[in-house]
Amino acid sequence: MTDSADPSGEPGIERALRRVVLGFRVVGATWLALLGAVVLATTESADPAVTLATVVLAAGWAAATVARGAQPGGLRSWWWLAADLAVASWTIAGPTVVAGQRTTFFGGFPFTAVVLAVWARGLTGGLIAAGALSAATLGRLGFVDGDATVPVSQAVENVVFYVVAAAVLAWTADVLRRNDRLRREAESALAQERAERIRSQERAETAAHLHDSVLQTLALIQRRTGDPAEVTVLARRQERELRTWLTGGAPAGDGGSFAAAVASAAEEVERLHGVRVEVVTVGDAPLDEGLAALVAAAREALVNAARHSRVDRVAVYAETSEDAATVFVRDRGVGFDPVAVDGDRRGIAESITGRLRRRGGHARVTSAPGAGTEVEMTVARRAP
């Protein structure tokens, strides 16, 4: 989870440090401009043209820094660094060298050059910047007229400050960067470990499932090779179960859904009676009392078909709409004359019809000798 990386691949810590550098630069230029304005207003010896030019140069350079700093790598080249130091040195020494101006107004501007150099080139960059600025600071003294005692002590203070600042900033940046790298490494290791754990868990679950289901069934099949009907039923059952598992559905029989309950009833009849039941469902709904009665009735009809039709295939079609749920159970078996059925058959038909009627549904049996049988069962659905 590296929140920190942006599309250019720049780590978040570098982006944050870059913002700090640009912020310092803007503050430094503002500082310089304010001091420049004070000098222009109060110091008679100041050269207005040179002072103004220096303020404009610093402000313009800060703007250029911000513009170029919008790209991650824009400020890191040596030539930019050299130009940056030239501008900073000018703000220190320029007015004195060109116009003999005694009063300085560079404020915090040169310091921002040290910050930038440390960020871009580490301790080396920082020390080079400190060196260049120190040279400008000390070199300037040669152009100051008259008593130089006060400027000298100030200059020495500044030189020490530049060097110490370079070292401290470099050390700070280094600590920040190292912490960030360690944090990102730890996070990626953690994510990798988590992914690996999930993978191995899935593998173990798959292996356990295959062992409990497919391998058991294959063993059973090997022991029952003498009974083709039994082998077929075992294979069908395993196929159904594996398919449900693969598509991520709940194992049939867990209830909850009408379609799942129909499939589960079909599978049970298939297992108990050795027939093949083809199930097609359209729509689905949570199982309520009415739908449960419909499933029970459909199961009766299936058992009937399995027992009496003398064929080994039965088709089930279950459809759920907003107002009603309907199940058709159909076989292409011997059929019968519904008018002249024996008592046993009538009893079962009653158990289907009666069961549904109590839930406001109905059943209809269509059959003729030799033409197979179809039982249609419907219950109305209450608004949820």
């Binding site: 398919r243 598509t247 083809e278 097609v280 359209v282 729509g283 088709a315 079609y317 459809e319 159909r330």
Partner: protein, 213 residues
């Protein structure tokens, strides 16, 4: 006696291809077989079969990729999708790509030969399973969003499809509904065309809902 239908077999399971071959090779002419998309496209273009028996699930893009690779070059070739898969989205997808029907691999050899011949004759072959998928797909398109009659089934088409889903043959349906077998076939073909032309957006909504449940 009609000439034997020229059939090309595409399935990545060698065992299954051998099984099909041994079951139906005496009644149809199996002119070639392939186990992956590339060799299937090449083989079908070279041998120009009447019907391609096409597994829905193939490595490298599935049966759909085979249809896409052949359709423009050989528009006369018809496809019958064949699968052990019950995933409704995959089946509907291959029908929309242009297959003329879908049957499950548990079909008996006689039924399969019959289905191949009907596809060769230009009919659509809906197994009960496919009829169920199609009813499900059209039922899920909300009426308010229906942009044309293409997105809806007529009452008659629904009735015919329901009968197919209930396990009736076309002949039985024609007897029950007092229409000719040809009319039953016309209805089924019309459903197939609607399925192929219906706004993809409406059907993908259905597919998304199925994935949630």
């Amino acid at each position: 006696m009609r000439a034997r239908t020229k059939v090309f077999l595409v399935d990545d399971h060698t065992l299954f291809r051998a099984g099909i071959r041994s079951e139906i090779a005496d009644r149809v002419w199996i002119c070639g077989e392939a186990a992956d998309v590339a060799s299937a496209v090449e083989g079908i273009r070279a041998s120009r079969p009447e019907v391609v028996l096409l597994d829905v699930h193939l490595p490298d893009g599935g049966g759909r990729a085979v249809i896409d690779g052949v359709r423009d070059a050989e528009p006369g070739v018809r496809f019958l999708a064949l699968s052990a898969s019950d995933a409704a989205e995959d089946v509907i997808d291959i029908i929309r790509a242009g297959a003329r029907g879908y049957v499950t691999k548990t079909l008996s050899a006689d039924e399969l030969v019959d289905a191949v011949r009907r596809v060769a004759d230009g009919d659509a072959v809906f197994s009960p399973k496919l009829a169920g998928f199609v009813l499900d797909a059209f039922a899920a398109i909300p009426v308010v969003q229906v942009d044309s009659e293409l997105a809806q089934l007529t009452a008659r088409e629904r009735e015919v499809l329901q009968h197919v889903a209930r396990g009736y043959t076309y002949r039985e349906i024609s007897e029950r509904l007092f229409i000719s077998t040809k009319t039953v076939e016309t209805h089924v073909s019309a459903v197939l065309r609607k399925l192929q032309l219906t706004n993809r957006h409406q059907l993908s909504r259905w597919a998304a809902e199925r994935n949630i449940t």
